[in-house]
Structure formats: C-alpha cells, structure tokens
C-alpha cells in the first residue's frame, strides 16, 4: 500500500483548471520531487494534500485512509506536515516555541491539566521539549543554544528555513511536504539542505515530497521525479529519464519552431 495516493484529482479556480486529473503514488521511504514551470500547480497540489483546498473531484489517500475533505489540522494529525514556499513561521515567538507548537496536538490533555500543571502535564511538557531539541539537533548546534530563546524574526533567512523544517518534523509526521526548501539560499546552504533532506529519510525515517526549482538538488536526491505542467502530470520517473523526455523539455523551453 502506498503511503500517499492521489487518484484522479481535479481542482479549478474560477475558469482556471489548476489541477487536471493528477494521479500520484508515494511509497514509504521515498524522496519524490515535483517539478514544473511556474504556475504548473505544484503548490496547489500541496494545498490539496494538506487540506487547505478541497479537490473538486478525485480522492486522496494517506496510509489507506481517505483524507480529502479533512481540515488542515486533521491532515497534520494523521501524519503529513509541510513547509511553506514563503516561510510562515510564528515570527514573534522563539525558536523553541515554534517547535513546541506543532506538538500541541499530541498533548492529549485537557486544558485544565495545563493550568493546574498536573504531573501528567509536566511529564508531557518535558517530553515535548526533548522532542523539540531532538528535531533541532538535525541542523547542528546553531539553533540549539542561545538562538533557542530568540524570536524567529531576528534569525537569518537560512536559519528560519531550518526552523520551519524542524517545526514540520516536530508534528510527528511520517510524510514531509517541502515547498521549495532551498528558495533564497546560497549554493553552500543549498548543499547543506540537500544533505539534510537525505538525512530526513535515512536517519529520521521520513518520506519526503518536495517542490523544487533547483535541478541539481532535485537530481541529487530524488528517487523519483514528477513533472507537472498546466495542472497535468506530463512525466514521471527517474531524474535522468525525465529530463530527456521531450514533453518536459517542451514545457520548460517551449516547442521548437519549424
């Protein structure tokens, strides 16, 4: 059984058919990249999976459970977490708080416990803190010491990206959806992100789906590449095969005249 499966999904905004009958299967432990020109529907696809939008037609399954029509927080609870294309962090909260909030849904205690600070609550709080530190440790010590207590807004762009990924991991998800994880990063940082994504799978046991524009990153880590154009899946397979595909070349570069 595939971890994530999209069956014939459609989504239109007004007259614009943003997603046009997409089928997609992601197996556990895979790293799948979704590429395509601007406006091809990549981010819409993420929004459909995470419940921000509801598909007009078609079904989405996660671990065999149908998830289309669920709210984003319900989808997150089932084990899908995401990052955003233009960073949506809790800017005035500290790094630690940013990584604690996604664990809130697993607290499992009534708010009375939180106010009374019952032993059960204290224990959970300790555990949540430990998890937060564990996830931040993925990115080396840079977010671990004093930055832990700094508000996110003062961090560098790359550190914010890292915090956002740590935040997604902290939800307890199995599947990470990364929307352009290397956007705005320099080549060195991109290189680092590539390593991190690989370690997500190898060390963290996550399955990763990412939308990305930087082809060398995609080529380096993807087990499989899916190409979208005008809301349709035009190619799928190994990176090297896919970039040879004439339809893909056409989508990116246009048809050769004559």
């Amino acid at each position: 059984m595939a971890l994530l499966e999209l069956r014939n999904v459609y989504k239109a905004f007004g007259g614009l058919q943003a997603i046009n009958g997409v089928n997609l299967k992601v197996e556990e432990g895979e790293i799948v990249s979704i590429i395509g020109p601007n406006g091809a529907g990549k981010s819409t696809l993420f929004n459909l999976i995470t419940g921000v939008y509801r598909p007009d037609r078609g079904e989405i399954y996660f671990q065999g459970r149908r998830i289309d029509g669920l709210r984003p927080d319900q989808v997150c609870r089932l084990g899908i977490a995401r990052t955003f294309q233009n960073l949506r962090l809790f800017n005035n909260l500290t790094v630690l708080e940013n990584v604690l909030i996604p664990q809130h849904h697993r607290l499992g205690l009534h708010w009375i416990h939180a106010v009374l600070r019952t032993p059960a609550y204290r224990r959970r709080e300790e555990e949540m803190r430990a998890t937060a530190l564990e996830k931040l440790a993925f990115f080396g010590p840079r977010l671990m010491t004093f930055r832990l207590h700094q508000p996110v807004r003062v961090l560098s762009y790359a550190n914010r990206r890292r915090t956002e990924m740590a935040r997604a991991m902290a939800t307890g998800a199995k599947l990470l959806l990364l929307d352009e994880p290397s956007a705005g990063m320099n080549p060195r940082e991109t290189q680092e992100i590539t390593q991190i994504i690989r370690r997500f799978r190898d060390e963290g046991g996550y399955t990763v789906v990412l939308v990305e524009h930087k082809m060398n990153l995609v080529g380096e880590i993807s087990d499989r590449v899916v190409v979208l154009d005008y809301g349709e899946k035009i190619a799928e397979g190994d990176y090297r095969e896919v970039i040879q595909n004439p339809r893909v070349i056409e989508a990116y570069l246009g048809r050769k005249e004559g």
């Binding site: 984003p72 997150c76 949506r88 909260l93 664990q103 809130h104 849904h105 607290l107 708010w111 600070r117």
Partner: protein, 447 residues
C-alpha cells in the same frame, strides 16, 4: 526556588499592605480605588487573552461583563429588595426563581445560604459560566471571519447584549431601564477583589505559559501555519472566547457588587473602550501590561477629576496653547530621535504657530469677560483616554511591556537569548568558511 521565595514574599507584603490599608483611618478613597483596579484588571486580563494572545480584536467585552453583572445581582438580591415595589418590571417568575437562596434550599444545601460569601462564590461562578456560554456563541463567528470584520461582529454582539435588557420581553428578567438596586456589596470589597484578582493572575499566567497558551499565540502569529501544524483553530478560538468571557462575567459580578446596583448604563461600549486603552497601553499580549495599563488608566479616571472642575477660561486657553507647543516639541523630539529629516516639518509649525498665537491672543484679551468666564470641561478624562490611545497606536503600538511578562528572571536572572562569548565563537566557527572549511556540509556538530 529563589523565584518562589520572592513571589511568596511579595504576596505576603501585598497582603500586609492591604491589611494595613483597611485598618487605616480615612483610607476609604484609596481602598475603593484599589478595589476598582483589581476588578478592572480581571476584566483587562481576560480581554487580553483574546485581543493580545489570540490576536482577535474583540469589542464585545462589555456584553460579557453585563451578563455576569446582571446574573450576580439577580441571584444575590436580598428578599426585601425583591418586592414588586422595588423591582417593578421584573416578572413574578424571575422574582421567585432567580434567587440563589431558593436553589440552595431546593438542593438541600441550605446551610450554604447562611453565608453571604459562600453564596457569592457560587453566584460569581454561575455568572462566569453564563458569560462563558455567551462567549462560546460569540466566538463561533471567529471561525469564519477575520480581522476588522470579526471585530465588528463582536461589537455587534456586545451592543445587542447591551440593548436587550431594555426591551420589554427581556425586562422581565432585568427590570429594564430601572436596573437592579440593593445588591449586597460583600464581593465588591478589597479583600474579595484582591483574592479573585490573584486567582485570575495565577490562572492566566499558567495558561499563557502552557502548551495551550503557545497554541493561542501561534494562531495570533499565523493562523494558516498554526492550522497546518495541527492546531485545531475552531476549538482553540472558542475555548479562548469562553475562558475570557468567564472571567469577564466574574469581573462584571464583582463590579455589580461594588456598585451595589446594575442598570443598562453600567456596561456600555465605553467599558470595552476603556479596557482596550488599558491593554494597549500596557502592551497587547502581556498580562503584566494589562494590570499596569489598567492601573494607569484608572488613575486618570479616579484622580483626574480636577481636570473637570470649573475654572477661568484663560487657564484652559493657556493649557491648550501649552499643549500645542508641547506637541510641537514632542514631534521634533521624536523626529530627531528617529533621525528623520527635516527635523521640523511645516505642518508641525502650524501647531507651534497656533499655540503661540492662542497664547498671545489670550494675553491680549485677558481682561475681556470671554477670557475671564468660568468654564468647565466635562468629559475631559474620556478625551484624554482617547488621545492617549491614538498616541499609543501611532508612536508605540507595543505599549509599555510589549508582549513580555514581568518575571524575577527578568530582574535578576541571566538572559538566555544573548550568546555568551563562548557561544558566539562557536557560532562564528560554524558559519564562517574561513575558520571552518567543513561548514555547510551538513553534518557539522551533530555527527
């Protein structure tokens, strides 16, 4: 440990101070001022949960307070005040049944009815619960709406609640425009309000620094991200509204007891406005700020009476011109501090010119009856509050405290968000390729 001792010491000191104050001769006005500070702080702290922590501008707080006030008043109203003569518009049903004594008897808890304090505890809790129920209903629109539209909806709810007691059908339960008089004043005393204030403080600070508090703040920072991270928006918003309304209801009940009456004018929109000024001044999102802001704003309200006393017109004219010149000086100061050029803008010169001109004119016509007449500035305090709020919004939106709270650590402890020398060096080593050729390879430090 140190923090606990300090907190305990402060508590004991505060209690002693309050004890001393109640024993002192002629401290009546101070006692009632402090009582009001406690009552309004409870309301401000509760409003702060929605406006500051959840980030939803709620303008219906007076409605919640009103429900608490009326319910407490009705439940606690003594037998002799319940006569048809005293409460003309109240229906017989309400007169008979909205009585805590009766219910306690019916439940076989008649012994509780002996103590007014015990009855107040129950009445206030019931008042809070009733307000919380309404808060829950008012909170539901927050699931569909955002920003200023939502603010207007909460305002609409608050106004509907305020307008209803006058309507004939509802007046059967509220005694309409006549209001309810003769409410026992036991819960409106310093000790009572102090105790409830401490409970409120404890409750809200515990809530703020818990997983739930973080979830609220997450919603304030970015609703979409919070939802994507598994925070159930509907549950948390409605929860915050209910909790906030509960404490607003309790504050309303205390206030009704303090005034020993309620009517439809007790809780008008000015109440919410007043609280809004208080929490904006203190710093939206900060509990400490809410208390601080309330204290300052109340100070203006209670001790600002001299502003509204009758005095010769020239005093007022001089004050106005003086204020204009001050405003000019202030804006120049601000522009200098912010390194804006030109330091003196033409429009600021208008202030200076008007101020100086007015002053000269007053001096020139000093002996005329117009300048010598007695004038009185009613509502000066409200005007001052309004101006204060506008100035806060323009010049210091974060208020006094920002979002931070008072803590002993803030006073004495080391700051965790500032790197030590060692940490700074390590950080430089991590990020600077000249020092560390391996930086950016991804595995640094962790492996």
């Amino acid at each position: 440990m140190r923090d606990r001792i300090l907190t305990l010491a402060t508590l004991i000191l505060a209690t002693l101070a309050i004890y001393g104050l109640t024993q002192m001769e002629g401290s009546g006005s101070l006692v009632s001022a402090l009582t009001l500070v406690f009552i309004w702080s409870i309301a401000a702290i509760s409003l702060n949960l929605i406006n500051g922590q959840l980030g939803i501008l709620s303008l219906g707080h007076h409605g919640f307070m009103m429900i608490g006030g009326y319910l407490t008043a009705l439940l606690m109203l003594p037998e002799k005040e319940r006569s048809p003569f005293r409460t003309r518009l109240l229906s017989d049903w309400a007169r008979e049944n909205l009585d805590l004594n009766r219910w306690l008897e019916a439940l076989g808890l008649g012994f509780l009815a002996q103590s007014t304090d015990a009855k107040f505890v129950i009445a206030l809790i019931l008042a809070g619960l009733a307000a919380a129920l309404v808060g829950l209903i008012v909170g539901i629109p927050s699931l569909r709406l955002k920003g200023d539209y939502l603010a207007i909806v909460t305002f609409g709810f608050g106004e509907i609640i305020r307008l209803l007691p006058n309507a004939p059908e509802v007046a059967r339960f509220t005694n309409g425009p006549l209001g309810i008089k003769g409410v026992p004043g036991d819960a409106g005393t310093l000790w009572w309000t102090f105790a409830v204030f401490l409970i409120t403080l404890w409750f809200f600070s515990r809530l703020k620094f818990s997983s739930y508090g973080r979830a609220f703040e997450g919603i304030r920072e970015d609703e979409i991200a919070a939802e994507a991270m598994g925070v159930n928006l509907a549950y948390h918003k409605v929860l915050a509204f209910s909790i906030s309304a509960f404490f607003a209801g309790v504050a309303g009940g205390l206030y009704a007891s303090y005034l020993q009456s309620v009517d439809t004018q007790t809780f008008n929109f000015f109440v919410t406005f007043f609280l809004l000024v208080a929490i904006s001044l203190g710093g939206l999102g900060s509990i400490t700020g809410a208390v601080l802001g309330t204290a300052i704003v109340l100070l203006v309200r209670i001790y600002g009476g001299f502003l509204e006393e009758p005095r010769p017109a020239y005093v007022a004219l001089f004050a106005i011109s003086g204020l204009m010149i001050l405003a000019f000086a202030f804006s120049v100061y601000i522009r200098r501090a912010r390194h804006l050029r030109p330091v003196i803008e033409p429009k600021h010169l208008i202030f200076l010119g008007t101020g100086v001109g007015l002053m000269l004119l007053t001096l020139a016509f000093f002996s005329t009856p117009f300048v010598q007449q007695e004038v009185q500035f009613f509502g000066m305090r409200k005007i001052l509050l309004a101006v204060l709020l506008i100035l806060i919004m323009i010049y210091r939106r974060e208020g006094i405290m920002g979002r931070s709270e008072f803590s002993w650590k803030l006073l004495f402890g080391p700051r965790e968000d500032i790197p030590t020398e060692e940490q700074r060096k390590q950080d430089a080593w991590l990020t600077n390729p000249e020092l560390n050729p391996d930086a950016g390879k991804g595995n640094n430090g962790a492996s």
